[in-house]
């Protein structure tokens, strides 16, 4: 492992030298401006959550409010099972992230490190399910879940979300597994490492940046899902997830925009927290940093 470490260090040095170039100030200014533009709709969302109801859509759209109120947040948190929904969402998202990361890592290794019949076909077949509207798959999936006896349980959300995150995760990790030189694998075997050891202790850490990207992807898609949550959790409302607490405010003919914005704000924050927790992996970038 030590050659890897060394290399990482030297690589970080090299990379910082690469970035220390004229024009960095301009680049950083650009980054900050883009960040501000991208964040503006988010700011507007949070602002609207704090505005009194009559001000959210008014003829004087001010980017501030003189009468901030917590009323909208109160309506969000006053929902009976809000805490429960939150917990359910966390369970579903974390389970999906972990399960799809492991399954995809194994599958990506298989399709990258081995040749076998149907390999390419499989890779493409993985993508096929994403090519149809999700609504079209809800009915068949409903019957699968019913036959598995998992309707109204969190499994009915976890399983389909794993299935829908896998294709991207496998395709994505392929690129990272590919980037790890064969020589490393052979060196490991020569040192007497077992295949399992190589897989989890050497290869796995090297593809972590890819896993971060795929995890963010699976986390967000599981976290924000409405359709499965309202199709498969039918009779047991205690198994509902956070988006249900948001949908309450979308009343036909009489939507409560303050509630919508407050609930969305509350929903977005955990994703940002999750990202801050995992992003160090992405930035410190261990992957593929191995000498040939």
């Amino acid at each position: 492992m030590s050659p890897v470490r060394q290399d990482v260090e030297s690589r970080v040095n090299l990379l910082s030298r690469f970035t220390r170039r004229p024009g960095r100030t301009a680049a950083e200014a650009t980054a900050l401006v883009v960040a501000a533009v991208v964040a503006f709709p988010l700011y507007w969302m949070v602002l609207s959550a704090f505005k009194p109801a009559g001000e959210i859509r008014s003829a004087e759209p001010r980017p501030w409010t003189l009468a901030p109120t917590l009323d909208s947040f109160r309506r969000v948190f006053a929902q009976e099972d809000f805490g429960r929904y939150f917990l359910n969402s966390v369970v579903v998202a974390v389970a999906v992230v972990i399960a799809s990361a492991f399954i995809a890592f194994l599958a990506a290794t298989a399709v990258t490190r081995f040749r076998f019949r149907l390999r390419t076909t499989l890779l493409i077949m993985f993508l096929v399910a994403q090519m149809v509207p999700v609504e079209a798959l809800t009915i068949p999936l409903f019957f699968v879940m019913r036959d598995l006896g998992q309707l109204n349980t969190l499994w009915s959300l976890i399983l389909p979300h794993i299935a829908f995150s896998l294709p991207f995760a496998i395709w994505m990790l392929r690129g990272f597994v590919k980037g790890v030189p064969e020589a490393l694998e052979e060196a490991a075997y020569m040192d007497g490492a077992s295949r399992t050891r190589f897989l989890w202790q050497i290869l796995f850490p090297l593809v972590l940046p890819g896993l971060v990207a795929t995890s963010v992807f699976s986390f967000i898609s599981a976290w924000n899902d409405f359709l499965f949550a309202k199709s498969f959790i039918i009779s047991d409302i205690s198994q509902s997830t956070l988006p249900m607490a948001l949908l309450v405010f979308y009343k036909p003919d009489d939507p409560d925009w303050g509630g919508v914005m407050a609930a969305s704000t509350v929903m977005t924050i955990p994703v940002l927290v999750f990202f801050v927790l995992v992003q160090r992996r992405l930035v410190s970038g261990l992957g593929g940093a191995v000498k040939d």
């Binding site: 003829a59 929902q79 309202k230 039918i234 409302i237 009343k251 009489d254």
Partner: protein, 430 residues
């Protein structure tokens, strides 16, 4: 092409193993247990506690009356109703015994085979005789009754008292006056819409069509034919679409508006008049125009007449798959009883479906008077056909109004196209 050939082969193997797609056997249950747990789904309101209190007091009385019977109520977001209720039809094990549902969904749910026929129970219910005719129509499909009305929602004309006073205008008494007044206001105050209208606001437009004697569709007992292209209906379309223009509500902005958008414009002080529901009251009160507006029934063609309005609202219904039919029907009647509806009005402001109870609440709460008057005059309902779900989802009527408003088609051809689409939908549901 090796790749694709192989895929075709895989597909072919799958196809040869073909059988019919899965369905669920959701026949009506023979069981009618008198004890056990009764499951109820009601819609979750943004501010739900007052509703829960009304329901809880009904439940307490019910459980006292039926020993050994227990009730669990789940409040579901309105936005999730379509998926959940269909899922309940598909999986009787997850299904509740009693549901609240939007009254325009009745015919669809009946067609799906989900609602139990309660014609006899409804007939035998002494309070049912005071149910207003349109509300009764909203639970009736093909002559049979599939639930009881829970509350109604109806729209009337909101107008700015300060603007009318400033310009020395009278409240319009006829539709012609309404249109003229709207344009007069716009001419005097170009920053305001005279009457805020929306191309996607079907239920705001319908009173114009109905007041001219037009209908959405004619027919009974499951076979409907569109009447949107009749001469009378076209006059109504003409009248409504004449309101889109720089002299009242510019097409560029108003063609896309929904009912809620027009109320938002009114609440924000951007419109001198708007057609809004009793349920829009809170939104308007929260806006800039608080204390500067009043509500009257939407005028019809003749002076003093009221344009027929759409009677929206919710119903309660018993599911076919229930194993507690008697109990469920009894609970349904209790939840929708005169007393409970009166309490529900006090708690949530939902208008009762009984004419006499409505008069009582109108005496208590001045705000609802114009809405109660509108309901007392004449209300209409959408065709009791499962095709309505298709017509509504396919945005057939908004498309028609928008085609006219944006100048893509004239009234005649837009109405003819809409009629064709409606007839296709009526035809497809047999």
């Amino acid at each position: 092409m090796k790749l694709s050939v192989r895929m075709v082969a895989v597909a072919a193997v799958l196809a040869t193993a073909a059988c019919a797609p899965q369905t669920s056997g959701n026949s009506s249950s023979d069981k009618d247990e008198k004890t056990g747990t009764l499951r109820v789904w009601l819609f979750q309101e943004v501010n739900n506690q007052p509703k829960e209190q009304v329901v809880d007091s009904v439940l307490a009385a019910f459980e006292k009356e039926h020993e050994g019977a227990e009730v669990t109520v789940e409040y579901i977001p309105v936005e999730t109703r379509a998926q959940r209720i269909k899922a309940a039809f598909n999986d009787p094990k997850s299904a509740p015994d009693l549901i609240e549902y939007g009254n325009t969904d009745t015919a669809g749910y009946v067609k799906d085979g989900g609602l139990a026929d309660v014609t006899e129970d409804f007939g035998a219910w002494d309070e049912a005789k005071d149910t207003d005719p349109t509300a009764r129509q909203s639970v009736t499909v093909g002559g049979k009754v599939y639930g009881v009305p829970y509350f109604v929602g109806v729209r009337a004309l909101y107008y700015r008292t300060d603007v009318f006073e400033e310009l020395g205008l009278d409240v319009p008494k006829t539709q012609a006056e309404l249109i003229a007044t709207a344009k007069e206001i716009r001419a005097a105050k170009p920053e305001l819409y005279g009457l805020a209208v929306g191309g996607a606001y079907t239920y705001g437009a319908m009173p114009f069509i109905w007041s001219h004697g037009g209908e959405l569709a004619t027919g009974k007992g499951g076979s409907y034919a569109s009447a949107i292209d009749s001469a009378a209906a076209r006059k109504g379309i003409e009248a409504y679409t004449s309101l889109f223009g720089d002299d009242n509500c510019p097409a560029a902005k108003c063609a896309a508006m929904t009912g809620n958008d027009t109320i938002t414009a009114f609440a924000a002080g951007k419109a001198a008049m708007a057609i809004g529901g009793d349920f829009s009251h809170a939104a308007v009160e929260a806006g800039q125009v608080k204390g500067k507006y009043a509500v009257v029934p939407l005028p019809g063609l003749k002076a003093g007449s009221i344009a027929p309005a759409f009677a929206g609202g919710n119903n309660l219904g018993v599911l076919k798959s229930t194993t507690h039919r008697t109990l469920a029907v009894d609970l349904m009647k209790r939840l929708a009883s005169k007393e409970a509806q009166g309490e529900l009005f006090d708690a949530m402001g939902f208008l009762p479906t009984f004419s006499d109870v409505r008069q009582q609440v109108a005496a208590k709460e001045a705000f609802v008077k114009p809405f109660v008057a509108t309901l007392a005059a004449d209300t209409k309902f959408v065709p009791a056909s499962p095709a309505w779900a298709q017509i509504d989802a396919g945005a057939v009527l908004p498309t028609m109004f928008q085609e006219v408003v944006s100048g893509k088609k004239d009234v005649d051809s837009a109405a003819a196209d809409a009629a064709k689409k409606m007839n296709d939908a009526f035809g497809s549901v047999g």
